[in-house]
Each structure stands twice: as C-alpha cells, then as structure tokens.
C-alpha cells in the first residue's frame, strides 16, 4: 500500500532529520512507530500524510508516485488517510458531531446521507451524549475520541495517530489502544507513533523504530 525507497528529509539547509528510509506499510497491517523524542516520528507521519515532501527518495502510496502528483491528486490521496493529531486539532466553533462529520462534508456529501453514520460512530466511541458539545467543554479523553472518530469517519485505508495516549491516563490509553485494534480488525492499516513502552507491550505488533534519523523495522 505504501512504500518508501531511500527517502531522506531535511528542513532548509540543516542536516537530514530522516535518512535512507526503506520500508513499506501493507494494507490491514498494524504497527507502532517509536523512538526517542526528536527522532523524527512526527516528520515521518507528516510524510505519510503527504503534508511534507521528501528531500530525496521515492514515496509510493496507493500505487501512485507522490512526487508527480498534482495538488488535487495529493488531496485525493489524503482522503484515504485518517490522522489523529497529538493536539487533536478539533475546530472550536463546531460541535463534536460537526467536527467528526467534517471529512464527509469536505467530500461534498449531503448531511442527510451521513447523519446516521456519524451518530453511530459517535455512539461507538462513547460520545453519543456529547454530540452537540463544543470541543472546549470536552475532557481530554473525549477530545481524543472525537479526533479518532473524525479520522476514521470517511473509512480511510490508513490511520495515523501521533502520540494518541500522550495526554490520557494509562487506563484510558489501554481503551484507546483497543479502539485502534478494533479499527485494524475492520480493515484499516494503523500506524501509532508513541514512545510509551507500556502501551506497545500491550499488543504484539510490528515496530518501526527511529533512531538518529534511521528507521529499524522489527516485524
């Protein structure tokens, strides 16, 4: 589904923060992306989300060479990827329901067509009673679940999560991990960036370890 070949990334004239990345992500797979702080996890996630362009190398996603894609082409690929940001990035002027429905709205779907689907997903993540609430009044855990719901509502083939358990207690962290596992079982490839060793020990999955800009894969 996704293939990186000799990918390198540098910001401006600085040194390469990611070097010689060679790896692939298969459909329906589950992996943790880990490494010390500053190792480049977020940069790699941004490359996967097509919100950064590599300085060198080839990134192939869904059978497309991302280097030659038009802007609209990149936007279309991005629709097949769901992203859970560390800081949630929910829009404060929209209700939980509207935030979760945003990707479908961007796709131009009619609200009447997706209303039941969004409500069902919100119930599934336990936000059935918080649909009309604005993000500023949601708890950290609720915001996290709303962000996850928004990331999966358009049924992406790949789900990226940046430190999804970084702001929650261990108990909630485990529940969120189970949520990701369930999503993976339903067919979505999952990449969870984390440096929470305890979380990774909870589930036996492939590990992508970044160290000094290089990636080591432990299947």
């Amino acid at each position: 589904m996704i293939r990186f070949e000799n990918v390198g990334l540098r910001y401006g004239p600085g040194p390469e923060v990611l070097r010689d990345l060679n790896f692939g992500i298969d459909g329906h797979s589950f992996q943790f992306l880990t490494g010390p702080s500053g190792a480049g996890k977020t940069s790699l996630l941004r490359l996967l989300l097509l919100s950064l362009r590599p300085t060198r190398g080839l990134i192939s996603m869904f059978d497309s060479d991302t280097a030659i894609l038009s802007k609209d082409g990149r936007a279309n690929l991005r629709r097949r990827i769901g992203m859970v940001f560390q800081d949630f990035r929910l829009l404060d002027h929209m209700t939980t329901y509207e935030n979760v429905a945003l990707p479908l709205r961007v796709l131009g779907k009619d609200e009447a067509d997706y209303r039941a689907e969004v409500v069902e997903l919100l119930q599934w993540v336990g936000l059935g009673e918080r649909m009309a609430a604005l993000p500023p009044v949601l708890s950290g855990g609720e915001k996290q679940r709303a962000a996850i719901a928004r990331a999966v509502i358009a049924r992406p083939q790949l789900l990226l999560a940046d430190e999804p358990t970084g702001n929650v207690d261990p108990n909630l962290g485990q529940r969120l991990l189970r949520l990701f596992i369930e999503l993976n079982k339903s067919g979505t490839a999952v990449v969870i960036a984390t440096h929470d060793i305890a979380l990774m020990d909870e589930y036996d999955a492939r590990r992508l370890v970044l160290h000094e800009g290089r990636l080591h894969v432990y299947d």
């Binding site: 936007a75 945003l102 209303r115 599934w124 993540v125 009673e129 679940r145 529940r175 949520l179």
Partner: protein, 325 residues
C-alpha cells in the same frame, strides 16, 4: 468496517451510552466551516466600512470639484464684455447703440445687454460714493454679451468691425481670466483625482492587511481542512465566500453612510437655495450634488471593496496552503 457494535471489551464510559432519538433529531443545522461571528471578522467589517466611507466621501468631493470647476469655466466662457469709453466729440449713447447692433449681428450671440448710465454709475459707487454728479465724470459704459453654449464667435472680425465703426469700443473676451481659471480648475481636478487615487490605494492596502489579520485567526481551520483531504480550491472557496460577505457588509455600511450624507447635503442645499448663504455656497461649489455618476461610483466602490476583501482572503489561504504543503 462494522461500527454497529460497541467494542466488546470496553466498559464504561463508552458502553451503555446511546444517542437518544430526540437528540439526533434536534442536532443543530451544520455550522459554517468558517465561523461567522469572530472578533477578527467584526474588526475587518469595521475597517472596510470606515475605509469605504472615506473613499466614498473623497470620490464625491473629487466629483464635486471637477463639476464645479467645469461650471466656472463654462459660465465665464459664455460671457464677453464690450467697454465703450466716453470721448470728447462723440455721443456715447450713439456709440453704445452702434456697438449693440454690431454685436447682435454676430454669430453665436444670444443676448446683448448694455448697462444704462445709472447702472454704470452704480458700478463705480463703491469707490466714489453715492450722490456725486456723475455727468461730469468720464465713466465708460459696459455692454454684457451672452454667448450660446459651445459657441465660438469670431472675436477677431468683431473687434475689427467695432474698431472701424465705434473706435471708442473695446472687446474683452476674458481670455486671460479664463486661461487662469482653466489652469486653476485643472489643478483642482488633478489634485482631486490624486487624492482619490491615494485614498483608494490606502483603502485597498488597509483592507488587504485587515483581511490577512482576520485570516491569521483562521489558520487552524485551513490546516484541518487541508489534512482531512480538502482540495485547495475548496478551502479557498470557503474563505472567499465568507470574506466576500464580510467585505460587502462593511462596504455597504460605509458606502451607505456616504450616500446618506451626500443625500442630506443635497437636500439641505435645495432647502437653502434662494437664501444669501445658499447662493454663495452654490456659486462656489456648484449645486453640491454628486449626481447619478457619483452615487453609481459609490455603489461600485462597495462592490470593489467586497471583491478586494475576497481576493485578499483567497490569496492568504493559498499562501497558507503553500506553507503547509
């Protein structure tokens, strides 16, 4: 993916919570992607309103100056004066009559009005005082000649005929005065247009910067839309539509206030017509009306401001997207 069943292993708070049917029915209508009532948006509307008002006032004032200057030129240019000097051995009344006849015969002349002896005397009254025996003074007599609008009589041949038949008459076509007036009016027009151009430039710049300021608050929205797969044109379209409405609202408030102000000035002017003060103002500034063209120009400015705001927002969104990507 199946989302119909809650995750088995999950216990509260995620289990047992279901959206009530009533809640589902009463979900509010979808909020606009770009929030309508933000502080930055209100500030932008105020900036657009104030700048449109100032630009409209400047436009109206410039149009009034142009109109008044043209009126002065036209009025002065439509009048020439013949002066008949008293000379010993000649009958000044006969000379005046002859000059009037000759002038009436000239092409382009619509009215010839000789000043009587008494009227001529009144002209020098401010300098010499009243009650003098003016018969003893050699006071010249004036003949005021009105020309048809746009007429260019042959003053050279008229001067020749007058010189031959009434040697004491001299014709003054106010050329020097008109030339000065034309220069002054031209300067006023250029100054008016220059001020208008400057005000419009300042308006466009301040509206552009205010739009960018308002857009800065919306950067997270641009980013989220981008990350959830919105195309650049979708994102730009959302903001452009929102800011077009904001700009139009601000422009309508500012331009509307200017229209009301000019309307009231015009009404006050009409009300004062006939009074001494009103006539003086009319003499100096014309009829204090910006005319249909003026009102159309203000309406055009309202639309222009809305377009500037929308374009500035689109430009800023595109720059933001360039920076993200």
């Amino acid at each position: 993916m199946s989302m119909t069943e809650p995750v088995e292993s999950m216990t509260e708070p995620w289990d047992g919570l279901a959206a009530s049917p009533s809640l589902m029915r009463t979900l509010p209508a979808a909020a606009p992607i770009v929030p309508r009532n933000s502080i930055a948006g209100r500030s932008l509307t105020a900036v657009v309103a104030i700048m449109t008002f100032l630009a409209s006032i400047t436009t109206g004032a410039a149009l009034m100056v142009v109109s008044a200057a043209s009126d002065w030129q036209a009025e002065v240019g439509r009048e020439v004066t013949i002066q008949v000097r008293p000379t010993p051995g000649r009958n000044i009344d006969a000379d005046v009559r002859s000059a009037v006849e000759i002038t009436r015969a000239a092409a382009g002349v619509v009215e010839v009005r000789p000043y009587t002896k008494e009227e001529s005397a009144r002209l020098v009254e401010p300098w010499l005082g009243a009650g003098l025996a003016l018969d003893d003074l050699p006071i010249p007599r004036l003949i005021v000649v009105k020309l048809a609008a746009g007429a260019r009589p042959d003053f050279a041949s008229l001067r020749q005929v007058l010189a031959a038949r009434v040697p004491t008459a001299s014709l003054d076509d106010h050329r020097r005065w008109i030339d000065r007036m034309r220069t002054m009016a031209g300067t006023a027009i250029v100054a008016g247009v220059a001020v208008l151009v400057l005000v419009l430039a300042v308006t466009v710049l301040s509206v552009t910067f205010a739009t960018r300021g308002a857009m800065a608050a919306n950067r997270p929205i641009v980013e989220v839309l981008h990350y959830v797969g919105a195309t650049d044109s979708f994102v730009a379209g959302q903001f452009q539509r929102h800011f077009l409405i904001l700009g139009f609202k601000g422009g309508a408030i500012g331009g509307g206030a200017a229209i009301v102000l000019f309307g009231m000035t015009e009404a006050a002017n009409a009300w004062l017509t006939g009074t001494a003060g009103g006539d003086q103002v009319a003499g100096l500034f014309g009829n204090l009306s910006i005319g249909v063209i003026g009102y159309l120009a203000i309406l055009l400015q309202i639309v222009f401001m809305a377009l500037v705001t929308a374009f500035a927002s689109r430009h800023t969104v595109n720059r933001t997207l360039e920076a993200i990507d």
